[in-house]
C-alpha cells in the first residue's frame, strides 16, 4: 500500500473518532475503488493489532471503521479518568446547558440534533437540579416541551442576564451560521 494512503487512512480515521467511516466514504475521498480501500484497511487492521507498541487498533462494526484504544490501555485509562479532576458538572451537562442557554427556548429534540446524542436522562437531571425548566410547548409535531435556563443557572454561572453570555466563537461552516446567526463587526 502506498505510504501516503497509509498516512491518510490513519489521519482520517483518527479525526472522525467515534463516528467512524465507511469504506465507501474513504474510497470517495481517496479516489480508489472500495475493494482497494478495504484491502488496505484489512492490512492496516492487522498491522495495528500485531504491533505491540501501538496503543490503538481499528475495529470494523456495522460497516464503519474506527480507531479505539487497545484493551491493555484500559487499566491506565481507568486510572486517568478516575483521577482527572473533572469539573463538578460533567462535560455532557455543560454542553447541554450551553446549548439551552444559547438557543432557548428549545425542545429536547433540537438539543439532541445539535449534540448528536440522546439527552433524555440529561434533561431530567438538569431539571431535577433546577438548572433548567419547562417553559411551554413547541408548535412542532407532538407539541414537545420547550426548555429554558433558570435563575439558579444564572447564579451558578455568575451571569446577571443571558445577554452577558460571550458571543459564540466565530464558527466556520454554514451549518453553524444557520444555527447561530452571527454578526460580523
Amino acid at each position: 500500500m502506498p505510504e501516503e494512503i497509509k498516512a491518510t487512512l490513519e489521519g482520517l480515521l483518527f479525526l472522525v473518532g467515534d463516528e467512524g467511516l465507511s469504506s465507501t466514504q474513504l474510497a470517495e475521498v481517496l479516489e480508489y475503488s472500495v475493494d482497494e480501500i478495504e484491502a488496505w484497511l484489512d492490512e492496516l487492521m492487522k498491522e495495528y493489532i500485531e504491533t505491540d507498541t501501538r496503543g490503538i487498533e481499528i475495529v470494523h462494526f456495522g460497516g464503519l471503521y474506527k480507531f479505539v484504544s487497545k484493551e491493555k490501555v484500559h487499566v491506565y485509562a481507568e486510572k486517568l479518568f478516575a483521577s482527572v479532576k473533572m469539573a463538578t458538572l460533567s462535560q455532557a451537562a455543560l454542553e447541554t446547558l450551553a446549548i439551552i442557554a444559547y438557543k432557548q427556548p428549545i425542545t429536547r429534540n433540537e438539543i439532541e440534533e445539535i449534540r448528536g446524542v440522546g439527552c433524555d436522562m440529561m434533561v431530567r437531571k438538569l431539571l431535577a437540579r433546577n438548572l433548567i425548566k419547562e417553559c411551554g410547548r413547541s408548535d412542532a409535531a407532538g407539541r414537545p416541551f420547550l426548555y429554558e435556563v433558570t435563575p439558579e443557572f444564572m447564579d451558578s454561572f455568575q451571569l446577571e442576564s443571558l445577554k452577558e453570555l460571550p458571543e459564540l466563537p466565530e464558527t466556520n461552516n454554514t451549518l453553524d451560521t444557520e444555527l447561530f446567526q452571527e454578526d460580523e463587526s
Binding site: 467515534d18 463516528e19 479518568f81 458538572l89 460533567s90 446547558l97 450551553a98 460571550p166 466563537p169
Partner: protein, 245 residues
C-alpha cells in the same frame, strides 16, 4: 495621488499614517509633519467625498496633527517656548508609529503560525472514556460563562465532524411502501385516533413527512384506515374502516 486604497484596508489612523509615510517616502526619523498632515487630511477628504465612513479615531488623530501644525503658525516670539513642545509632540507620534509598526510586523508571523496550526486537526475525547469517568454533579456548582462557551465550541466542532458530506448525498430515501409498513406496525398497539403530527413525530426530515402523507393516502384508499379533519384543520387517523369520532 490616486486613492485606490480605501479606508477599511487600514487597521486605524496609525496604520494609515505608516502607509502615507511609505507612499510619500518620508523619513520616519526626521518626520516632516506638514507633509504628513496634508496627506492625511487629503486622504480623509477623499474618503468622505467617496461617502466612505471614516471612524472617529481617524478624526481624533487628525485633530492632533492640525494642532501641531497650527502651533507653528503662532507669532515668532512664542516659537522658542513652543519648539520644545513641538519636538515632544512629533517624537511622541514617531514613537507610537514605531511601536505600532512592530506589532503589525510580528502579527504576520502570528498569522502563519495560526494557519499552519489550523491544518493540524484533533478529535473530541472518545466516548470510550465515559465508562471510566467519575462524574458526579455536585450540589454547589460554580462555573463561569466561558465554561459555557467552551462547551458550546466543542458541540459545534463535533457537529461538523459528524456530518461528512457523503452521508448527506447517500442517505437512502424511504419509499411509500416502507413507510406504510412502519405505520401499520405503529398503529397495531394504538387505540383511538392519532393526529398527523404525532404520526410524523419519528420523521427526520421533510421528505419523510411527505412520504408519510402519501402512505396514509394509500392506506385510506385500501380502507386500512379512515380519517377525519376537525375544526382546527387537524388531520386525525382512525384505525379500521368505519369510525367517526
Amino acid at each position: 495621488m490616486a486613492f485606490e486604497i480605501t479606508i477599511d484596508q487600514f487597521e486605524g489612523p496609525l496604520d494609515l499614517m505608516l502607509h502615507l509615510i511609505k507612499e510619500n517616502k518620508l523619513d520616519l526619523f526626521d518626520l516632516n509633519m506638514d507633509t504628513l498632515t496634508d496627506q492625511y487630511l487629503a486622504y480623509l477628504n477623499t474618503m468622505e467625498a467617496l461617502h466612505l465612513e471614516v471612524a472617529s479615531e481617524y478624526l481624533a488623530e487628525l485633530a492632533g496633527l492640525i494642532e501641531y501644525k497650527s502651533k507653528k503658525l503662532l507669532p515668532r516670539e512664542k516659537v522658542v517656548i513652543e519648539e520644545e513642545y513641538e519636538e515632544d509632540q512629533r517624537d511622541k507620534l514617531v514613537k507610537r508609529l514605531l511601536e505600532y509598526q512592530r506589532f503589525k510586523e510580528v502579527s504576520s508571523l502570528f498569522q502563519q503560525q495560526y494557519e499552519e496550526r489550523q491544518k493540524m486537526m484533533s478529535k473530541p475525547m472518545s466516548t470510550e472514556s465515559n465508562q471510566w469517568m467519575n462524574v458526579k454533579i455536585e450540589e454547589d456548582f460554580k462555573g463561569n460563562p466561558y465554561d459555557l462557551v467552551k462547551a458550546m465550541h466543542k458541540v459545534l466542532r463535533r457537529l461538523v465532524l459528524a456530518q461528512p458530506y457523503e452521508t448527506k448525498v447517500t442517505v437512502k430515501e424511504m419509499s411509500v411502501d416502507e413507510r406504510k409498513a412502519q405505520i401499520v406496525k405503529r398503529l397495531q398497539n394504538w387505540t383511538g385516533k392519532m393526529d398527523f403530527p404525532t404520526l410524523c413525530s419519528d420523521c427526520t426530515d421533510l421528505h419523510m413527512v411527505i412520504v408519510s402523507f402519501l402512505a396514509i393516502l394509500d392506506m385510506i384508499r385500501f380502507k386500512m384506515i379512515t380519517y377525519l379533519i376537525d375544526e382546527e384543520e387537524m388531520i386525525w387517523i382512525v384505525k379500521g374502516e368505519v369510525a367517526y369520532a
